[in-house]
């Protein structure tokens, strides 16, 4: 069974139809890359999966999205619960203006973890999971805003891991990072795949080709093509996909 399954998803911002009948399955412990030119709906689709789009005024959604078979728009699905299970890393690293330690424990505390030893353990395991532990273990009480851009983004990944999500959504997580930091985050993603299901939006086609198992190509609100990354990049079925990945537009 797919972890996330979208069926005929339509989304409007006011009168503008941003997603047109998207149907897409995300498989367990895979990295699914969403690619496409700016404004194609890939970020909108990503933000629908943890319902962050609910924050946008005048948004209207039709269709079906299931997380392990559960309807994410149903009344039974608590929004806070959905967002704990489907974590998110943003384009711009957004650590809270507090210590590294408090950044990591913020989520677990929300969800009821109070025990100090347990929190300490979570901080270490999350930071190790985000390949940041060795760099920050001696300054956990220092402000997270003192970290470099790449470290901040890995901290945000660690913060998302601390609430033990099932799925990790990443919205162009490396677009604001230098090549060295980008490489570290990419290495980290292949590690994360062992335990998590990852959906990543990226502008960088080389990145999609390097790290993802499956690739979905979006254009003007439509899902043009989705398949194993190697196939999409070698033998795309749709002419538009071929044009995009060969750099003829975008």
């Amino acid at each position: 069974m797919p972890v996330i399954s979208a069926k005929n998803l339509n989304l409007w911002y006011g009168d503008f139809k941003a997603l047109k009948g998207i149907s897409l399955d995300v498989g367990e412990q895979e990295i699914t890359a969403l690619i496409g030119p700016s404004g194609c709906g890939k970020s909108t689709f990503l933000k629908t999966l943890n319902r962050m789009n609910d924050l946008v005024p005048n948004v209207r959604i039709e269709g079906d999205v299931r997380l392990r078979g559960e309807d994410i728009f149903s009344k039974e699905m608590q929004l806070t619960d959905l967002r704990r299970r489907v974590g998110m890393v943003f384009q711009k690293a957004n650590p809270f203006p507090m210590s590294i330690y408090d950044n990591i424990t913020y989520g677990p505390k929300l969800h009821g973890v109070r025990n100090k030893a347990e929190l300490d353990e979570l901080v270490e395991s999350s930071l190790r999971g985000a390949a940041l532990w060795d760099e920050v273990k001696d300054r956990l009480k220092k402000s997270a805003l003192g970290l470099s851009g790449g470290q901040q983004q890995r901290l945000c990944i660690a913060r998302a891991l601390a609430v033990k999500p099932e799925v990790l959504l990443m919205d162009e997580p490396t677009s604001a990072l230098d090549p060295g930091s980008t490489m570290k985050v990419e290495e980290l993603m292949s590690e994360l795949k062992k335990n998590y299901t990852v959906v990543i939006v990226t502008h960088n086609m080389q990145q999609a080709a390097r790290i993802s198992d499956r690739t979905a190509f979006f254009l003007l609100g439509e899902l043009v093509e989705c398949g194993p990354t190697s196939e999409i990049f070698s033998t795309p079925k749709d002419k538009r996909t071929e044009d995009y990945i060969s750099g003829r537009f975008g």
Binding site: D81, L82, R83, M88, N94, F96, P97, R159, V163
Partner: protein, 298 residues
């Protein structure tokens, strides 16, 4: 240093003249503060010297018109402090929650109505607050608590707490609006509710601005004379009960100045000096809070 050159063209002359005007306007404010400060100290210190600083500041009895006058201002100092603290105790939580509501929760239509109301509140003259307090609040306090008169510390606190609301609300709203939405999104994406996000992320991130609003409100409360005079009872009692008729530092000056002379008049200037120092301290505090907050964010 730039070598001084006489302006040559008409445009340069205009530029020089405008610069001079700006400079003069800037100097004017500085000059006023300097003159007031010097005047306050020159006119306020002699009486303190004659009465004795300890007797003046910590004397518990004020009887300026008695045959053997006593000039102890501790009742005024404490009344002002208690009145201001009491007003903050009510005004700060109400103001902060109003600000959170306006900045984060309110629907645009409701927000406009409340913002307009808060702006109007800040424009209402203090004498009107006093009038309303006198006619409505004071009798109500007397009735509810079964006292002979409701003109007391409690009434002053209630009036002041309403008067300081606009400063707290408007400055806090500005600070809360300036919190980067990325912080709040990050919190929501971790599964926090709106309320959790506001209290754990938005308010802490805006704390230096909120603190500035609170200090501004405190400044307004401690400097208010007219409204307090109309509801506080104005007896020079120690503020040992919420229902005691009391005199604040401001009202002590206002009510006696018109007929005071000699040492009594000088002592009123000394009270003004004490009030002046209080307000200076609050302003220094405000600057420290603002600077401290900014440093924190780096």
């Amino acid at each position: 240093m730039k070598k001084f050159e006489l302006p040559r063209t008409p445009a340069q002359w205009l530029e020089a003249v405008m610069n001079a005007i700006f400079f003069l306007c800037g100097i004017l404010a500085v000059g006023c503060v300097a003159v007031i400060t010097i005047y306050m100290f020159l006119s306020g210190l002699p009486a303190i010297g004659k009465i004795g600083p300890l007797k003046f500041l910590f004397g518990t009895e004020w009887a300026s018109t008695a045959s053997e006058p006593k000039y102890g201002i501790l009742p005024f100092v404490l009344s002002s402090i208690y009145g201001t603290l009491g007003a903050s105790l009510i005004g700060v939580p109400v103001g902060l929650l109003t600000a959170v509501f306006l900045s984060k929760a309110a629907a645009p239509g409701v927000r406009n109505v409340v913002v307009t109301a808060v702006e109007l509140l800040s424009g209402i003259p203090s004498v009107v607050f006093g009038l309303l307090g006198m006619q409505v609040l004071v009798p109500a306090v007397a009735k509810v608590f079964g006292k002979a008169s409701g003109a007391c510390l409690l009434s002053a606190i209630v009036v002041l707490s309403i008067m300081i609301l606009p400063s707290i609300v408007s400055v806090s709203v500005t600070a809360l609006n300036a919190v980067p939405p990325e912080y709040e999104q990050g919190s929501l994406a971790l599964g926090a509710t709106d309320t959790e996000t506001w209290f754990k992320i938005s308010i802490p991130a805006a704390r230096s601005g909120i603190a500035a609003g609170i200090v501004l409100g405190i400044g307004r409360a401690i400097g208010e004379a007219m409204a307090v005079m109309m509801v506080a009872g104005n007896s020079p009692n120690m503020p040992d009960s919420l229902f005691r008729s009391v005199t604040f530092l401001t009202t002590a000056i206002a009510k006696e100045m018109s007929y005071a002379s000699g040492l009594q008049k000088q002592a009123l200037f000394s009270i003004a000096l004490v009030l002046f120092v209080f307000i200076m301290v609050i302003n220094v505090l405000l600057n420290a809070v603002l600077k401290g907050g900014n440093k924190d964010e780096k």
